[in-house]
C-alpha cells in the first residue's frame, strides 16, 4: 500500500491546477455570475469553455492523443477531476457524450466511426444527448417501444424519447430503437446514432425541479435516418445487438466514470467553509463531519477500485453500492448545508440549487431501489424471485 502520489503525478496535478486557475478566470470574466449549462444561453457559453479545454488537451485527458486526449492514466484522470472540482470549474455540458457514449464507441465502434465521432465530441463540435428513457420505459428500459424500420438505404424512426438531459441544445442523440417489430423486451433492439436535425425529429425542452430547462422530449415522426448520415454508419455494434451494447454503456455510467470523488471532496470542502462562517452548533458540526467522512470514504473506495482496475481486477457488482453511496451522500451534504443556512436556505443559491439537483441522483442511472436489488442479488447472492 502506498497512498502517496509520485513526483510525476504531482507535476501533472500542478500543471492542471495552474491551467485551470488561469483559464477559468479568463472564461468567467466573459459572463456575469454563476451560469447554468442547462439553459440555452448558458449552454452556448459552456461550449466556449469546452473548446478552451479541448484546445489545450484537457477535455478528455484519459483518451488517446489521436482523439484529442493525453493518454493519461486512471490516476491522472482522478487527479485532474480533483483539481477540476477544486477549482470550481463548471459542469461538463458534453458529459453525456464523453462518459456514456464514448466508452461504447471505444468498445463497439468501427475505426471509421471512432475517427469521426470521438474528436468531434471532444472538441464539442458535436454535442450528444442520451435517448434511453421513454414515457413508459424509465427504470424498465427493456420495455421501450420507439422503433426503427429498415428501408432502402437507411432507417425510418418513430416514437418518443424523454428525460434527455440538455436534449434541447444538443446536436446528436444516441439511443435504443426496436428494429425487430416482433421482438420483446431485451431482444430486437439496435443502438442508433441520430443527428437531431434529421427531418421528422422534433425536440421540445421542458423544465426541471431546479428551474433549468434541463430535460427534453424528442419525437420521431417517420424520420428517415440514412445509413451514411455518419461516416462508418449510424448503427453502433450491429443490428439487434442494442441491449448488450447499451448495457456496456450503462455500466460505465454507474461506475467510476460518472462521479469522480473530486466532486464530493470539493463540495464537502465548501460545506466546511460554510460551517466555519456560521455560529458554532454541535449538531451541525457532527453532521458536517459525517458528510466529510463519507466523501473521504468514497475517495478511498475509489482509490481501491482504481488500483484493482489498473492491476487487472475490475470492479463488479459493487458498482451498485457505489452509485447508492455517492447519490445519497450528495443529498445528505446538501441537506446539511440547507439546515446550516436555516431560514435563508429558501433563497435560491448554489446550495439550494445543488440540493435540487442532488435529488435526481437516487433516481437516474438506475434508481437506488434497483441498485439495492442488484447488490443483493449479484453481490450477496439473494434469489431474484
Amino acid at each position: 500500500m502506498d497512498l502517496e502520489w509520485s513526483s510525476d503525478e504531482r507535476r501533472f496535478r500542478d500543471e492542471a491546477r495552474t491551467w485551470l486557475e488561469a483559464h477559468l478566470a479568463e472564461w468567467k470574466a466573459g459572463h456575469d455570475g454563476d451560469l447554468s449549462g442547462d439553459t440555452r444561453d448558458g449552454f452556448a457559453r459552456h461550449l466556449v469553455w469546452e473548446q478552451m479545454l479541448f484546445a489545450d488537451r484537457w477535455a478528455v485527458v484519459s483518451w488517446p492523443e489521436a482523439f484529442g486526449g493525453r493518454d493519461a492514466s486512471l490516476w491522472e484522470w482522478l487527479i485532474f477531476e480533483e483539481e477540476y472540482y477544486r477549482a470550481g470549474a463548471p459542469q461538463r455540458v458534453t458529459q453525456n457524450g464523453i462518459f456514456l457514449l464514448a466508452p461504447t464507441v471505444f468498445e463497439f465502434g468501427t475505426p471509421e466511426q471512432q475517427a469521426h465521432i470521438l474528436p468531434r465530441m471532444a472538441a464539442a463540435d458535436d454535442q450528444w444527448c442520451q435517448g434511453w428513457s421513454e414515457p413508459n420505459a424509465g427504470s424498465d428500459l427493456a420495455s421501450l417501444t420507439s422503433r426503427a424500420r429498415r428501408v432502402d438505404g437507411g432507417w425510418v424512426l418513430d416514437g418518443q424519447k424523454t428525460w434527455t438531459t440538455r436534449g434541447a441544445f444538443c446536436t446528436h442523440l444516441f439511443g435504443l430503437f426496436r428494429t425487430d417489430p416482433e421482438s420483446e423486451r431485451h431482444k430486437g433492439l439496435t443502438y442508433l446514432l441520430v443527428a437531431l436535425d434529421t427531418p421528422g425529429v422534433t425536440v421540445r425542452g421542458f423544465g426541471r425541479l431546479d428551474g433549468d430547462e434541463g430535460f427534453a422530449e424528442v419525437f420521431f415522426d417517420e424520420a428517415f435516418l440514412p445509413d451514411d448520415a455518419l461516416p462508418g454508419g449510424v448503427v453502433l455494434g450491429g443490428e439487434g445487438q442494442g441491449w448488450s451494447v447499451a448495457m456496456a454503456t450503462t455500466s460505465s455510467e454507474r461506475g467510476l466514470t460518472l462521479r469522480s470523488p473530486g466532486r464530493f471532496m470539493a463540495a464537502t470542502a465548501r460545506l466546511i467553509e460554510l460551517y466555519r462562517s456560521a455560529p458554532d452548533d454541535p449538531l451541525l458540526r457532527d453532521r458536517v463531519t459525517r458528510a466529510w467522512m463519507k466523501a473521504e470514504a468514497y475517495r478511498l473506495q475509489t482509490l481501491q477500485t482504481v488500483t484493482g482496475t489498473v492491476e487487472g481486477r475490475p470492479a463488479g457488482a459493487e458498482t451498485s453500492l457505489v452509485k447508492i453511496w455517492w447519490s445519497e451522500l450528495d443529498v445528505e451534504l446538501h441537506e446539511v448545508a440547507l439546515d446550516l443556512l436555516g431560514a435563508d436556505a429558501e433563497a435560491t443559491g448554489p446550495w439550494s440549487k445543488g440540493w435540487q439537483f442532488s435529488l435526481s441522483g437516487p433516481i437516474y442511472a438506475g434508481t437506488n431501489e434497483i441498485q439495492r436489488n442488484i447488490a443483493a442479488e449479484r453481490l450477496l447472492g439473494l434469489p431474484r424471485r
Binding site: T39, W163, F206, G207, L209, L338, A343, E346, K353, I363
Partner: protein, 332 residues
Amino acid sequence: MRFAFTDDQVAFRDAVRDLLAKECPPEVVRAAWPEGEVPGGAKPGEGARADADRLDAVWRALADMGVLGIAVAEEHGGLGMDELNWVLIAEETGYAALPHPFVETVCVAAPLLGRADLADGSATATVQPGRDEPVPWASADVLLAIDRDAWTLTVHDEWEADAVASVDGARQLASVRASGGEEVGGAALAFDRGALGTAAQLVGLGRRMLDLTVAYVVERKQFGVQIGSFQAVKHHLADAALDLTFAAPAVHRAAWSLATASPDASRDVSMAKAMASDAAHRAGRAALQCHGAIGYTVEYDLHLYVERAAALSRAWGTAAWHRGRVGRALEI
C-alpha cells in the same frame, strides 16, 4: 378527556377543503410563480398551465366564507375563534399549497392587531419570524417583525423589500429593511401561532405529496406491474404515512395548548413544528423517489408541494431549533 375536534370544527374544515379543491388547484398555485425566466433559467410550461385570474379569487372566496377573519375579534368583524378552530384549516391551506399569506395574516396578525381589513380580505399581513430572516409575501400591507432573541415584535406599515428568488416561486420572498414601526407586546405568542400554523401546513403538504404519490404508483407500470406493488415503494410510502400519522396529533395538541394558554404551550408548539418539519421532509423525499424522473420536472405538479415543504420546514425555526426549545422545557 377527549382528543378530537368538534363536529362544527370538522364541518368547517371540510367546507374549506372543498373550496380549496375547487378554487386552488395546481394551476392557481402555478399562477403565483413568476412568469418566464427565473435566475436559474427558463420555466417553460409554467405559463401555459397557470390560471392567473383565479389567484385573487381564492383569497376572496376564503374571505367570503369567513375564514380570513376566523381569529379576528368579533368587534372587528371576525369570528373571534381560537387556535383549535383554525388549525385544521391551516392544514388544508398546506394541502392546497395556497399561494397567499394565510398563516401570517389569519393565524398571526389577525388576532394580534384586530383589524377588520384583515378579516374581509382587503389587506394582508406578512411576518419576519426572526431577525434578518427573509420575508415571504412581500406585497403584503403590514409587516410584523419578530425578534426571536429579544422576543420583541414590531409592526411596520412601510418597509423596503428586495425580491429574493425562492425555491418556491409562489412565496414572493424578499429581504426587507424596515425602521421605526410600532413595538407591540405578544411576540412569543405571535411566534408560537405562526409556528403552529406552519406546522399544520406542513402536515397538509405531507398528505398532499403522499396522495399524489399513491395515485401515481397505482397508475404507473414498470417491469409489467404497477410500481406501487413493489415492496420498496410500499415501505417508502408507509414510512411517510407513519411520520404524518404521529405528527398530526402533536400539531393538534399544540393548538389545544395555545387555546387553553397552557404553561407548556411553547414546548408543545415546538414539538409540533419539529415533527411536522421532519414528516413533511420525509414525505417529500419519498414522493420524489417513488415518482422517479417525472417528479423532478416542473410540468408535473409534485414540485409545487415539495418546494413549499422545503421552504416551510426551515421557516419559523428549523426542526433542530425547535427540538432545542423542547429540550430546555424538559430541563435537559
